[in-house]
Symmetry: C2
Subunit: 344 residues, 2 copies
């Protein structure tokens, strides 16, 4: 038994009408008589006719679906973004197709090519932590394919971008540590290829500079996979803790970096914040349970997804001149928990 769907033809045949009449009746065209309309609509309802979106796509050269490229959906930051994307897409009758790069450049390229081969009308992208070469995206963009970047954006492409003010997030977090009396603040950062990493490091460094504190290059440790792999973070912390001047505080620059720092400390029975303080970027809804001592930088992920999708749909539907590309910068929020610092 094969699944055979009802088409406009079936209705036409059953009712002794032509397909065009049926088509027009279904679309409530003004040129169809009320009686015919009623007839067609009733029959369509009866046999539960649904238009074939694929045929529509072929005809209209649009699929009413948008693609999303993220590293992982099992990451609260990104799943919140996806919920934001979904909410807007849904309201505009767009379907959403999610593809994960798992932080692999090769996978990202394959996904982009698959999605973009005209089964989607536009693309929302947050690049993988390995991505340096952008020709898979540039190629599309050059041909006029609508692309909007969010969070992990790229400088080399001129299109809409939505980001969080990473500089400010890192600046505020670092300053919070400085104001609490910490003198040796290290930074566990993500992939050095990512825009967000650079911005966060800049914020961190500026906060130190503004407070007349030295920049110690060995205090910055990069994790290529953004903490997706525990061992990365372990290595970084090992490096930091064997320095002559051990840091007394750490800034975790991503969700998984922060939680893996916690895991490391727990394993080694290092007390937070007594032995070392930790402040980190995190969108987990579990931070209150994770550690009594976790001050976090939280990002407006849902809103970010909404804004990016809104911009993308405008691009797709050409509602605004294609030349005034926007870069929206959203404010992060520092959630301070008093117990996150040792009063010095």
């Amino acid at each position: 038994m094969k699944f055979e769907a009802v088409t406009i033809k079936d209705i036409a045949k059953a009712l002794g009408l032509s397909t065009s009449t049926v088509s027009r009746a279904l679309r409530d065209s003004y040129e169809i008589s009320p009686e015919t309309k009623k007839l067609v609509l009733a029959y369509a309802e009866k046999i539960s006719y649904r238009p074939n979106p694929i045929a529509l796509s072929l005809k209209e050269k649009r699929s009413r679906s948008i693609g999303i490229i993220v590293c992982e959906i099992a990451n609260s930051f990104f799943s919140q973004i996806i919920n934001g994307i979904e909410s807007i897409a849904y309201n505009n009758d767009y379907n959403v197709i999610i593809a994960q790069s798992h932080e692999s450049y090769d996978r990202e390229v394959i996904n982009v090519q698959y999605l973009a081969s005209r089964s989607i009308d536009g693309l929302l992208v947050s690049v993988s932590s390995e991505t340096q070469d952008l020709k898979h995206l540039k190629n599309l963009h050059d041909r006029g394919f609508p692309i909007v970047f969010f969070d992990r954006i790229v400088d080399e492409m001129d299109t809409h971008k939505v980001i969080v003010d990473n500089f400010k997030g890192a600046y505020d977090a670092t300053e919070h540590l400085i104001k609490s009396g910490y003198q040796h603040i290290a930074n566990i950062a993500g992939s050095e290829y990512l825009s967000i990493t650079k911005e966060r490091i800049n914020g961190y460094q500026q906060a130190l500079a503004d407070n007349h504190m030295p920049l110690n290059p060995s205090y910055v440790q990069y994790c290529l996979h953004g903490g997706m792999v525990y061992e990365e973070v372990e290595n970084s912390l090992n490096q930091l803790l064997k320095l002559k001047k051990k840091p007394d505080a750490i800034l975790g620059c991503a969700d998984k970096l922060t939680t893996n720092c916690l895991r490391y400390f727990k394993k080694r029975k290092i007390k937070v914040p007594d032995d070392i303080a930790l402040v980190g970027f995190s969108n987990l809804d579990l931070t209150d349970l994770l550690s009594p001592s976790l001050t976090v930088v939280r990002q407006p992920a849902f809103e970010m997804g909404q804004i990016a999708t809104d911009l993308l749909i405008q691009l797709i539907e050409s509602k605004r001149p294609v030349k005034d590309f926007e870069k929206r910068v959203l404010p992060p929020q520092l959630f301070i928990r008093e117990s996150s610092v040792k009063q010095k």
Copy 2:
């Protein structure tokens, strides 16, 4: 500037060939001369031709994509399942479209109808916690549309199903508590409409019975939204803690139920396991950080996604007689942490 894709026609025109020749050359048909093939392939590569999957879908009456209906992707159990699904789908050249019900029946119905209107070849479903009426799925199934259920399955429909042995998971967890000396074990359960809830409660009750312990009906509290809403869990725990005979241990029957129990205890400064023990279902990769005292039932989510997808693809491609439907039951695993119980 509109995105115009290159088609087989463009190649034909440019090369002075017919579309059929180009089509055959691209598919490496035996009836095309090597020179022509080389010519076509080279040109196609040069202008980076990609076949239009929508046209293919229309022609072949299949989209090579499968739909997934889950309650939330921001749930580690489900995101692990999705990763499993993706891995198999990917290997079989299937695309995956994820839709979230957010535990709403109405949303589930809309999603199913949207997906099933022939933009997908099959459906993987884990029903929402509100779902009782199944006509949205039955209707499809009756018309021969391939559906496979996973985790939250339904009895009334005869198709492949993949589940975890929920009875055993709950039985083992309960027995662990009994063996550790607890006498008054309560159960924070999910929606009473869900198969998994019933199975887990059965396992819990059987463990009590086998150990000659009384069944106290007021020890079982249902949460319609499976803990997605904190207040649900708060209410349930309030009920339990105002009982004359307060429970000395709790079995949390889902990821979010378990974490929200922890949250409740933390807020009220109730010590686990000294004041009350907690054992729960959880697929979070953060349980080691959440509480030193958390013994968990972990489910093989990734494998579940893989198996369900494998079965679905077999259904879609009719590789097996449609009548021998399988119900695969996977073993859960109890991760015991010694500190999760008070030695009595």
